[in-house]
């Protein structure tokens, strides 16, 4: 097989990989905020529920979660889902899983902001919402950026788990090519592409980190 053909197949896979990556972030970054706020809620049942959610999603393999969502509707309710379902099952699984990790990062960030910041804002008359949006959140973002970066880089590589659902993302594509060509080269190229993608993300994260470097606390 020509190299360019192989590259074409891998890049097609990469498009799906990137799609899973983006959809996961778009869904889980905000969902994580909701889970974190629930986890810190003064209403105990809600806090426990959020804690249980986090515990289960962090405590079981993502691969099993993906399979549970993929096959759950059929085994539990006898529903047969359309051919699109595997992609959405994958997206939902990733979003739910990453939201749990992000929630814990947000929570640690929010709880690391000293009480004095809230008190200073309160005395100045800021509302609760203003205090959170203007005073707390910008500081939280700076503090959690390294941890978030780790998680996001992990997500790049975790997208390969989508192969268990038969989604033709880059890892699946590489696997198929390797079998057909009896060669490790497709794997090596896929690895290189993952790495380059991560380098790009690291570059962006570094830029953001630099931009927030104008103060320290």
């Amino acid at each position: 097989m020509e190299f360019s053909v192989m590259m074409g197949i891998l890049m097609e896979g990469f498009a799906l990989t990137a799609e899973i990556f983006v959809i996961t972030l778009v869904g889980s970054l905000p969902l994580g905020v909701v889970v974190a706020l629930a986890r810190m809620s003064k209403f105990k049942p809600l806090a426990w529920l959020a804690q249980l959610y986090i515990s289960i999603l962090r405590g079981t393999p993502l691969m099993l979660q993906l399979m549970a969502i993929m096959f759950g509707p059929y085994y539990l309710f006898g529903l047969s889902m359309g051919s699109d379902w595997k992609f959405w099952a994958c997206a939902i699984g990733f979003i739910l899983n990453y939201a749990a990790y992000f929630a814990e990062i947000y929570r640690s960030g929010i709880q690391s902001i000293p009480r004095g910041q809230y008190e200073a804002a309160e005395v100045l008359g800021y509302t609760k919402a203003q205090t959170f949006m203007k005073i707390v959140l910008p500081q939280v973002i700076k503090r959690i950026l390294p941890a978030m970066g780790n998680e996001i880089i992990t997500l790049v590589k975790d997208t390969s788990l989508a192969f268990v659902l038969g989604i033709a993302e880059m890892f699946s594509a590489a696997k198929a090519l390797a079998a057909r060509e009896v060669s490790m080269i497709p794997y090596a190229i896929a690895a290189l592409i993952y790495w380059v993608f991560c380098l790009l993300i690291e570059f962006i994260l570094n830029r953001v980190e630099k931009r927030l470097d104008y103060y320290h606390d």
């Binding site: 000293p114 004095g116 910041q117 008190e119 200073a120 804002a121 309160e122 005395v123 100045l124 008359g125 800021y126 203003q130 203007k134 005073i135 910008p138 500081q139 700076k142 104008y214 103060y215 320290h216 606390d217």
Partner: protein
């Protein structure tokens, strides 16, 4: 001229669980007065200030700012606070300066001073910036407006915090040990700013361990221990000539200049 009460607390009580921290405290601060509060650690000074600054709620007592009643006792002697509007209005009447500054680290010096003016008091931005710059100049920080707090000395940070509190144009300014986190040199520069404010007849309540400063700057002084006012009077009288043994014992730990 009849002097008018800017803030008054009557029979204030506050407990944390079984720990009665404020036991029946009453005080009045008139316009232009400087009140100093001294006393041993754990005596309830911060709690008193925090109750007045609405960071803690009183269990019992009446608290008013001018004619604005913030809380009053009900029939059972429990403090009942006014609604949201009352609380919001009360917060425009006082400012609080913390021991550890509590500046917003992600804001520049000027933003620290002006942000609440713009987003809480809804002052037009130009006006707020002008006011912020004027205050920073008064604090001797005119050239620091675009720096961030972490690049300033502690004394400079505390002066920014004072400017931030003053920006809101409060009727009274509360200070909780404003120099305790500072070394002697920086302490002097912050105390000078407070002395200047006193000379301009700013109404202030200052918790401090600087006895010489309290004696020189305060009109009135309260010595607090164990949640009660043990002794009070003119600052000069109490510091130079304390009447109670506990006050004497406390003051003997300090040289008074």
């Amino acid at each position: 001229m009849e002097s008018k009460a800017v803030v008054s607390l009557t029979n204030g009580k506050k407990a944390f669980g079984a720990n009665e921290v404020l036991k029946d405290i009453s005080l009045t601060v008139n316009a232009g007065d400087v009140l100093a509060i001294i006393g041993p650690s754990g005596g309830g000074k911060s709690t008193l200030l925090r109750c007045m600054a609405l960071l803690e709620t009183l269990d019992s007592g009446d608290l008013s700012y001018g004619d604005l009643v913030v809380c009053a006792n009900n029939g059972e002697g429990r403090a009942v606070y006014g609604g949201k509007d009352v609380i919001a209005q009360a917060k425009t009447r006082f400012g609080l300066v913390f021991q550890n500054f509590n500046l917003f680290p992600h804001y520049t010096v000027l933003q620290n001073v002006t942000d609440a003016l713009i987003c809480v008091q809804k002052m037009p931005k130009d006006e707020a910036l002008a006011r912020g710059r004027e205050l920073l100049a008064r604090m001797g920080l005119a050239d620091k407006e675009s720096m961030v707090p972490c690049d300033l000395s502690g004394g400079q940070q505390q002066r920014v915090a004072i400017a931030r509190a003053m920006a809101m144009n409060p009727d009274v300014l509360f200070f909780d040990e404003p120099t305790s986190a500072l070394d002697p040199e920086l302490t002097r520069e912050v105390l000078k700013v407070i002395r200047d404010l006193a000379a301009e007849h700013m109404t202030m309540v200052i918790v401090t361990h600087e006895m010489g400063f309290a004696r020189d700057v305060a009109d009135h002084l309260i010595f607090m221990d164990g949640g009660v006012i043990v002794e009070q009077g003119s600052a000069h009288e109490v510091i130079n000539n304390p009447q109670h043994d506990r006050t004497r014992a406390f003051l003997s730990n300090y040289d008074r200049d």
